[in-house]
């Protein structure tokens, strides 16, 4: 019996009917054999309504051979019970919760069966933001601290509830959903696919390039279209610029929180130079408008290339000098070192991805393991850290930014030597009917997964987005356990997870 369908990232779509539909018991067995090997992790596990059934799709990525395994199971209308697989595979916890919330399925035995984001079309409208079932510990010695949804700074809303013993955090619960805008439903507007590009860019403004690329790549898969080399290179450069800008900006934020003002202002100014380069290229500091399906409105030109080189040479070097200083200052190290540790084992268990995984010595980087665009031709160096603490997350940003600068120069050299197609975007390109496609992009936080299904006319009939923060918010909760509550801000900044990308 066939248990799964094999596919790859950034390749042709597959026939939706070829994804095996397993009995739930076989599905669980299949996961058992896959997750026994830490080389595999869950990209996403979700459900959608098909005819009068509920179809569950699971996508598993194997890091060592670049394969993606697709499998599914179904539930007849009226049935609402399934055994939870979370006790055995904790990395599924958030996906089962999401399915439960959307469709009213009860996963029996789920240890943490709580709402995810209170979507407008949730199954149970009696569940509302105000009665989120927080975990409680009854004791005279403990107290609770609630923070948010509105925070002290200018950031997105989310609620954090701590249970503390004095200054020490015993437990942190993260309650999100405030940012829910109904993005996935809006992605079904087949009348005008330009809308989908703009929506993708607003899934998270700090990852506009990453999400626009994941979307573009997805449509191209559904049309069996392969982007020409010049376009691939340009997309990779845009993605790496986004990574560098955020890493520098987050370094500034970390410095702010430990009162190191020089690090803060220098990094703020350097981030400005990088995003202004993106603005020089396409007119928007966040790269909105830069990545489009089937082509681009802003092909690179000599002037832009010159600007990119100039800024990276200058700001790059200045950032490296600054970062070296930051990470050798005893007063800063005293605050970062050994704080907010996530162990490698914890990271594996919760299915951590992207940066959060790499700081725990797990070399999970889609650019290398499941390459897309020009990363297929030219693999970047994967950076890892060992300790899983705030220092590791800070250092990783520094070292990754360094790699990205180097990588962009290599890409630019290549770009200069190849013929240009300068393809224009196409918002009416025909998509193949009855297909399923997966598109993964390693944006600065980690893997962004976009999935879509087309109907018999080639219209998008289902769209699913999984932000890396789906996996990684739990890492933050683990990181602050047994820490001083005053260390929460640096722990939070060191991850910098997405609220809107998670809430959708």
């Amino acid at each position: 019996m066939k248990l799964f369908l094999e596919t790859y990232n950034n390749t042709n779509s597959v026939d939706i009917n070829e994804i095996p539909v397993l009995k739930y018991q076989y599905f669980a067995n299949m996961l058992r054999s896959y997750f026994a090997d830490s080389d595999n992790h869950c990209l996403s596990y979700y459900a959608y309504r098909k005819d009068n059934k509920l179809k569950f799709i699971c996508a598993i990525a194997k890091d060592s051979n670049g394969k993606i395994y697709l499998s599914s199971h179904e539930l007849d209308a009226g049935k609402i019970m399934l055994d939870s697989l979370t006790p055995e595979f904790p990395q599924l916890h958030i996906f089962e919760r999401e399915i439960a919330e959307n469709f009213g399925i009860t996963f029996e035995g789920h240890p943490w069966a709580k709402p995810v984001r209170y979507p407008f079309d949730r199954a149970d409208k009696n569940k509302v933001m105000n009665n989120y079932p927080f975990y409680r510990m009854e004791s005279d010695q403990l107290h609770e601290v609630g923070v948010g949804p509105i925070h002290a700074g200018v950031i997105e809303p989310g609620h954090f509830r701590f249970i503390c013993n004095g200054e020490k955090v015993l437990h942190l619960e993260i309650h999100l959903g405030y940012q829910h805008r109904g993005v996935e439903k809006l992605m079904l507007q087949n009348d005008n696919r330009l809308k989908l590009c703009i929506l993708s860019e607003s899934i998270g403004g700090d990852t506009a390039v990453g999400n626009a690329l994941a979307h573009a790549q997805l449509l191209e898969s559904l049309a069996d279209f392969e982007a020409p080399k010049d376009l691939q290179i340009e997309r990779c450069i845009a993605l790496e610029l986004e990574r560098i800008a955020v890493h520098i900006g987050d370094t500034a934020a970390l410095c702010t929180d430990v009162g190191y003002q020089l690090g803060q202002v220098v990094c703020e100014a350097l981030r400005t130079t990088i995003i202004n380069t993106t603005q020089f290229w396409c007119g928007n500091r966040f790269g909105k408008g830069l990545v489009r399906p089937f082509g681009t409105n802003y092909p690179l030109n000599d002037k832009t290339v010159e600007e990119i080189k100039k800024i990276l040479n200058d700001s790059g070097k200045r950032y490296f000098d600054m970062a070296e200083r930051i990470y050798s200052l005893p007063s800063v190290l005293g605050r970062f070192d050994d704080i907010g540790i996530v162990t490698t084992q914890q990271a594996y268990r919760i299915g951590a991805v992207g940066m959060a995984a790499r700081t725990c010595n797990i070399p999970r980087d889609i650019r290398a393991t499941h390459p897309f665009q020009y990363f297929k031709t030219h693999k970047p160096q994967v950076v890892t850290q060992e300790k899983g603490d705030v220092l590791a997350r800070g250092m990783l940003r520094f070292l990754e930014a360094k790699e990205s600068v180097k990588y962009i120069f290599e890409l630019l050299a290549k770009w200069e030597s190849i013929d240009k197609t300068n393809l224009k975007p196409d918002y009416d390109h025909k998509l193949n009917p009855d297909r399923f496609a997966v598109s993964i992009v390693e944006a600065w936080r980690g893997e962004l997964c976009h999935f879509a299904v087309t109907d018999e006319k080639g219209n998008i009939s289902h769209y699913k987005i999984s932000d890396p923060s789906m996996h990684n918010w739990f890492a933050l909760a683990l990181a602050v356990r047994d820490q001083e509550i005053s260390d929460f801000p640096i722990c939070n900044k060191s991850f910098n997870l997405s609220y809107c990308g998670y809430d959708l």
Partner: protein, 250 residues
């Protein structure tokens, strides 16, 4: 210490000296200009193309920059008729002035609409509380940047504060999600009057790409007058700072 001095020297002077006269890169997508009326067929095509229903036809052809997401696709489709300039002073206090028509060469402020107490009380110091209600965090980034070493709006006494109790007004980003509507209301109620209400970004002004989403709930805006509309996707720090300066009369 020596290393720090070296870094400081490299850092040099970063602040933008003239926030009102700074020139942005030519490609920056700021105020659109309608060079010539598009034909009927072109207009129809543009209406179909525009992702956010920003093309206006009532009273002649226009672009509503309170709805526009600044994708520039209309200008790329009709380069002889529409153009985007790098003029970043695109905010106003009057919703009607957000519609750009042929012949317009600036976004106008409606001086008469400015409440006298705003200028009297906030001219020398304006403390703001920001509320993101479904913002995609690009506008939030730009608002943070408005106070950073480059733009430094603090030089005018404009600042974001942590508590609504300390604030003279609220700055909203995002289309106002249903899940955030109550927290926004509580925050507004906690801000002592007289207070200003500022909407930043296309999402906040019109709902943007989310205006028809069942997950947004914009009733809050029916209840209170808005003092300032700051368009953009996201709004550039210079757009925001100049808008506020204009409002407080500086």
């Amino acid at each position: 210490m020596i290393k720090e001095i070296k870094i400081l020297k490299q850092h040099g002077i970063q602040y933008v000296p003239d926030l009102k006269g700074a020139v942005l890169t030519p490609l920056f997508r700021g105020r659109p200009v309608i060079k010539e009326q598009p034909s009927e067929a072109e207009t129809e095509m543009l209406i179909r193309l525009c992702p956010s229903d920003a093309i206006v036809t009532v009273g002649g052809f226009g672009i509503d920059i309170g709805k526009c997401v600044f994708c520039k696709e209309c200008a790329l489709a009709c380069p002889n008729k529409i153009e985007f300039t790098n003029d970043y002073k695109i905010a106003t206090n009057d919703l009607n002035n957000l519609i750009v028509r042929q012949g317009d060469s600036e976004i106008k402020f409606n001086e008469e609409k400015i409440r006298p107490e705003v200028r009297k009380l906030f001219k020398n110091a304006l403390k703001l509380r920001q509320v993101s209600a479904g913002g995609d965090n690009s506008c939030e980034f730009e608002l943070n940047a408005s106070g950073n070493v480059n733009f430094d709006m603090g030089r005018y006494g404009i600042e974001f504060v942590a508590s609504p109790r300390h604030a003279d007004g609220i700055v909203i980003t995002g289309p106002i999600t249903e899940n955030m509507a109550e927290a926004l209301q509580i925050c507004w109620d906690a801000t002592p009057g007289p207070k200003v209400l500022i909407l930043v970004g296309t999402d906040a002004i019109s709902g943007g790409m989310f205006k028809n989403s069942p997950a947004v709930k914009r009733e809050f805006l029916d209840k209170y007058p808005v003092d300032l509309y700051v368009p953009g996707n996201p709004a550039h720090p210079l757009t925001f700072i100049n808008a506020v300066l204009r409002l407080i009369g500086k």
